[in-house]
């Protein structure tokens, strides 16, 4: 039985910042739900409220049939939480850490081995090593094992792939997928836009607001306008020169390219840009239309003027 998560009008302020501004969310059972957003978007605060670590100022929420404020003891039994910071004991070995967390939840490694097997067998060769000596990716796998050891119905992972190399990130997401197939609801946050595509649905968050909630494919489809990827031999000057153009819609660096968003005919726009850049002395100009990515959508949503 996997759990659904409901949140209604939840707000939370800290003395010098408003972390969450009236968030409403509905996450279905067995969903792999992603929270995407830069640091300070309120992801961690939201997770801490869901895991009953902090209390919301306003609003209500439930996990399954449990209220997030009143039934915190029951929630703590059913939910697995992997905090953003590495929160295992560096001076204990891999095995000792796992054993300790198993005992915390009154279970044992053996009892739930089938659930964590996929994760744990990747780090098992190092089980006598101290957790502090593990690589970043392995630490996260160990943390995931620890969060899973008590057979939770819902796991909440706070930026599990931050600071982890690309291959380990891939492996980690594959593990999450396999956990989902075992019937667990998964809430995961990440600052990496490319990981959004791997979720069933994502919420784009910024400064305590949810900008949009949808399937990643739908978000990309809903992108209005066309994107031109531009590359020249003078990448430094490029951004400034493009900004000087008449009626530039939006221009920003994107990987090896500079992206320019337009609502006009892309071919006509490309021509205009090319002549403008040639006049500025750019050479090897390359302009191509590119499909919108989640990041483009996110940036577009971020800059959308507030609708009154």
């Amino acid at each position: 039985m996997s759990l659904a998560v409901k949140i209604k009008n939840v707000s939370k302020s800290y003395p010098n910042a408003e972390a969450l501004k009236s968030i409403t969310l509905d996450i279905g059972p067995n969903e792999l739900f992603g929270f995407i957003g830069p640091d300070g978007a309120g992801k961690t605060t939201l997770f801490r409220i869901l895991t009953s670590l902090i209390l919301p100022d306003k609003g209500t929420g439930s996990i399954g049939n449990f209220d997030i404020v009143k039934d915190y003891r029951k929630i703590r039994k059913e939910v697995g939480y992997m905090p953003g910071r590495f929160s295992l004991y560096g001076d204990l070995t891999v095995e000792e850490n796992l054993q300790f967390y198993a005992r915390l939840f009154n279970t044992s490694i053996k009892e739930n081995y089938d659930l964590i097997e996929d994760v744990y067998k990747q780090i098992e060769p190092f089980k006598k090593r101290r957790a502090a000596d593990l690589s970043g990716g392995m630490k996260q796998k160990l943390a995931l094992s620890c969060a899973l050891i008590h057979k939770p119905q819902l796991i909440i992972l706070d930026e599990p792939t931050t600071g982890v190399d690309a291959i380990s990130r891939k492996e980690f997401w594959a593990l999450l997928k396999s956990m989902q197939q075992k019937g667990i609801t998964i809430l995961v946050s990440t600052p990496y836009m490319d990981e959004a595509a791997l979720c069933d649905r994502v919420a784009l968050m910024q400064e305590g607001n949810i900008l949009t909630i949808d399937r990643p494919g739908q978000i990309v489809q809903d992108f209005s306008g066309k994107i031109l990827g531009i590359k020249t031999n003078q990448m430094h000057a490029l951004l400034n020169d493009l900004l000087q153009m008449e009626q530039p819609e939006r221009v920003y660096r994107f990987g090896a390219f500079v992206h320019l968003v337009t609502h006009d005919n892309p071919d006509a726009c490309a021509k205009k840009v090319r002549s403008h850049l040639e006049a500025k002395g750019h050479q090897n100009i390359m302009i191509q239309e590119q499909p919108a990515s989640i990041e483009d959508c996110f940036l577009a949503l971020m800059h959308k003027p507030e609708t009154p």
Binding site: T51, L53, Y81, L88, Y89, D91, E96, Y101, L104
Partner: protein, 366 residues
């Protein structure tokens, strides 16, 4: 619960540096206080200005020097040399015999000796004074007895109870015991709890269904064991290195110390609930616990000599009461009947700290 304790022991034993500190500090402190930082005066250098140089002054001089308290630095020839000698700092005391000392003693029945003592350290000065007058008095008494004369003056005889040799170890050991138990128990627990906060592991502990009381007990138990071992080390050291007696019952001593331990541990928990980082916890325990315990508990400075305000302040120092208890048991051999009041005070302090800290220990992060 056992899991917690086991885990905590892993932490302690794998961090060998803190292990060294944990067991090294008590050893070093006890030895330091016992040997080096002592109020006992041995081999104090003195100078003599003998205007008389007769058999009696020679005899007194001999008596003074044959005790191990004094060492003759040199003879002076005139009053003018006294000041420069002190200024050089080579001597602590000058003994001046007046001219015709023996003769006056014979004819007038009294003669005068002047003691000039360096009082930059008042403690030492009064001790030196005591030793010198004691030796001279006993000499004159002996002499009169030999000559079958009645003593001209009434002599006050002082008997030092419980510590006849006035060994300062007797005074320091209870104090050291108090300070170290306080240090290890309160500081170590508060640090180990705040460490979990700092590492973020507290977050992981809190989201588990484990009750706060289990978390706390699991944290504290290993330190009870450690502190008990340290306590045993101090008692053994004081017994066999400094010859400190244990007049009273050992069982009572152990029981009282355990009570004090629990008190210190609950204080440690309290500190950890109000501090956010290890550093804060450490500073708090240093300044809120250590310093007052050392200064106000009667460990170094007698409470009776303090201004009234500080005397009241010392009443809320748990250390003060524990020192009284230990002295009662170890030196006076008193039973529980004599210390029930102090025990009760520590007991109620323990209850108070425990209650406040359990109340303050949050099941959430805020």
């Amino acid at each position: 619960m056992w899991t917690f304790i086991k885990k905590e022991f892993f932490h302690i034993f794998r961090d060998y540096r803190s292990m060294v500190v944990l067991f090294g500090i008590p050893l070093i402190q006890v030895l330091l206080f016992g040997f080096a930082i002592t109020n006992d005066v041995n081999n104090a250098k003195i100078a003599l200005l003998d205007h008389s140089k007769d058999p009696v002054t020679r005899e007194i001089t001999h008596k003074l020097l044959s005790s191990h308290y004094f060492l003759l630095s040199r003879y002076l020839n005139s009053e003018d040399e006294i000041k420069p000698a002190f200024k050089k700092g080579e001597i602590k005391e000058v003994v001046v015999f007046e001219p015709h000392f023996a003769q006056k003693l014979e004819t007038e029945g009294k003669a005068r000796i002047q003691l000039i003592i360096d009082a930059t350290n008042p403690n030492t000065a009064s001790i030196l004074n005591g030793y010198t007058t004691g030796i001279i008095n006993s000499y004159t008494l002996d002499k009169m007895k030999k000559e079958h004369r009645l003593p001209a003056e009434v002599n006050v005889q002082t008997a030092m109870m419980y510590n006849p040799e006035l060994k300062s170890a007797f005074m320091f050991v209870p104090g050291i015991m108090t300070v170290i138990l306080m240090l290890v128990s309160a500081m170590m627990t508060s640090i180990s709890i705040t460490k979990e906060k700092e590492l973020g592991t507290m977050e992981a502990l809190l989201v588990s269904p484990v009750k706060p009381s289990v978390i706390i007990l699991g944290k504290v138990t290993p330190y009870v064991v450690l502190s008990s071992i340290i306590f045993a080390i101090i008692v053994l050291l004081s017994r066999f290195v400094f010859g400190m007696p244990i007049e009273g019952s050992i069982g009572l001593l152990v029981a009282e110390s355990l009570l004090f331990l629990v008190m210190a541990l609950s204080l440690g928990i309290l500190i950890s609930t109000v501090s956010k980082s290890q550093q804060q916890a450490m500073l708090l325990s240093m300044f809120v616990l250590m310093m007052p315990t050392i200064l106000l508990s009667g460990f170094i400075f007698p409470i009776e000599n303090m201004p009234l305000v500080l005397q009241y302040l010392s009443d809320i120092m748990p250390g003060k009461w524990f020192i009284i208890i230990i002295k009662n048991i170890m030196l006076k051999g008193n039973g529980f009947l004599y210390i029930w009041k102090e025990t009760l005070i520590i007991f109620s302090m323990t209850l108070f700290f425990l209650m406040v800290s359990i109340k303050k220990f949050n099941v959430r992060l805020e």
